[in-house]
Amino acid sequence: MDLLTPGTGLILWQIFVFLLLVFLMAKFAWKPILGSLKEREESIQQALDSAERAKLEMAALKSDNEKLLREAREERDKILKQAREAANRMHDQAQADAKRNADKIIEDAKAIIQTEKQAALRDVKSQVAMFSLEIAEKLIKNNLKEDKAQKELADTYIKDLKLN
């Protein structure tokens, strides 16, 4: 069977050509090709790694920013609160001052009114006394038109004096 018997010439040629091919390909084809593939794989890996690193950095930066923002917000709230408190305090103070002033004015007014009232009352009293004296004078004048009445009054006084 020619099909199953390897030809000597072809065997020798095959050994020669194939080994030469392996040598040539290894040196001139596979070395640069595999080298460039490896290099590319490494550069892709590096790119992926640095992207991952950048992502982490971004995340850190973002959390930093958030922290700053949060702090700023807290600061703002604090300042607002303080301002509100100060305003409240001033407001209260003003209110208290106003009240005190008003009270004082009222107090003074009351005192003035009191003195005025007393003066008026005194006035009224003296006037009443004067009127009373006038009335009494008029009455007495009226009553003492007759001698009898005068005598009676004098008697009364004397009686009273005696009693005293």
């Binding site: 030809g7 040629w13 095959q14 595999l34």
Partner: protein, 343 residues
């Protein structure tokens, strides 16, 4: 897949041409009858003629490329001449210069002694073509790889790189572990040699290089030597004194293991040879149907089937290259593996 499509197209074209030829074959037949040398179509002869090696390259009747014959014998020394010297103008085999050609073997005419035949036969020429195509394509890829350093691959480079990566990452690396880089150039060359040989062999008129047992034998022998030269203590220990097995069994296993050392490359040799040769025989048998029946309709039907089988052959071309490379890396991988963790 530019190339396989091209190959399929060419094969289809070839099948179509053969149908065309079958159309005019009655004319031929009558010509032959007229000249008184009517010979019935002998399919097995035609098929074997195609799958076997030859001293001339027979593309078609009337289109024959004579190849150089290189012979050496202790009596006559080294001689080089054209194979056309063995044929006269009527294509009859004649003796030349004391050599005679019998069934593609060259003998000394007087003593009948076989000579050392180093001729550039059809398969040797195909071997050169295969190697040249391989070198041309992969050297241009290498050139592109150098020129495109640090850039994205393009053109032929981006077509070949996934195949190279496939061989590296799917065939060699998983079977050889961390030793793979040492054997990668051999494995890649092996893979592409077989792949290109298979694909080129499918072209019409091409020689059946990877379906030749001499070629597959050499490839299998290289794997055999690489396996056994690089075999470490674990590998040999495994063969001669299989660990983890009771003593009586070790004695039984010993011959089995020793036979296994040789059956591994033998299976490599036979598998590739059979797969490719069988494919060619099937294709040619189907094409021969048209000539056997002498009908264009049979030719048309068989051409359709040939087209289909051709597509399968394209698949087989890839699969056989994959299988040969995978088993080679597996055998070598087992021989160089760091033992101790398994069993």
């Amino acid at each position: 897949m530019k190339k396989p499509v091209f190959a399929a197209k060419s094969s289809f074209l070839a099948a179509f041409l053969i149908v065309l030829v079958s159309l005019i074959s009655p004319v031929w037949a009558s010509d032959n009858e007229a000249s008184g040398e009517a010979e019935p179509f002998n399919a097995s002869e035609v098929i074997l003629h195609h799958v076997l090696d030859d001293h001339q390259w027979h593309f078609a009747d009337g289109l024959v490329l004579p190849l150089p014959v290189i012979v050496y014998s202790s009596e006559k020394g080294l001689e080089v001449f054209s194979s056309s010297r063995f044929y006269d103008e009527h294509h009859n085999v004649v003796e030349y210069n004391g050599y005679k050609l019998e069934h593609s073997h060259i003998y000394l005419a007087d003593t009948g002694k076989a000579v050392l035949d180093l001729s550039i036969t059809k398969n040797v020429a195909m071997l050169f073509i295969n190697a040249a195509v391989l070198l041309f394509i992969l050297l241009s890829v290498a050139k592109a790889a150098k020129a495109n350093k640090g850039k994205a691959p393009k053109g032929l480079q981006s077509f070949m790189e996934p195949i190279i990566l496939f061989v590296r990452d799917e065939i060699v690396k998983p079977n050889m572990g961390h030793h793979y880089e040492r054997f990668l150039p051999y494995m890649l060359t092996l893979f592409f040699f077989i792949l290109f040989g298979n694909l080129l062999g499918l072209l019409p008129g091409a020689a059946n290089l990877t379906g030749n047992i001499a070629v597959t034998m050499v490839l299998a022998l290289i794997t055999f030597f690489l396996t056994n030269i690089n075999g470490n203590k674990g590998y040999w220990g495994h063969i001669f004194w299989t660990p983890g097995v009771p003593l009586p069994l070790r004695i039984v296993i010993l011959p089995v293991e020793i036979i296994g050392v040789f059956t591994k490359p033998f299976s490599l040799m036979i598998r590739l040879f059979v797969a490719i040769t069988a494919g060619h025989i099937v294709l040619l048998s189907l094409i021969s149907l048209a000539f056997i029946f002498g009908s264009i309709w049979v030719g048309f039907a068989s051409s359709l089937i040939v087209l289909f089988i051709n597509l399968i052959e394209l698949l087989v071309a890839g699969i056989q290259a994959y299988v040969f490379t995978m088993f080679s890396s597996m055998y070598i991988g087992m021989a160089v593996a760091d033992h101790g963790h398994d069993h």
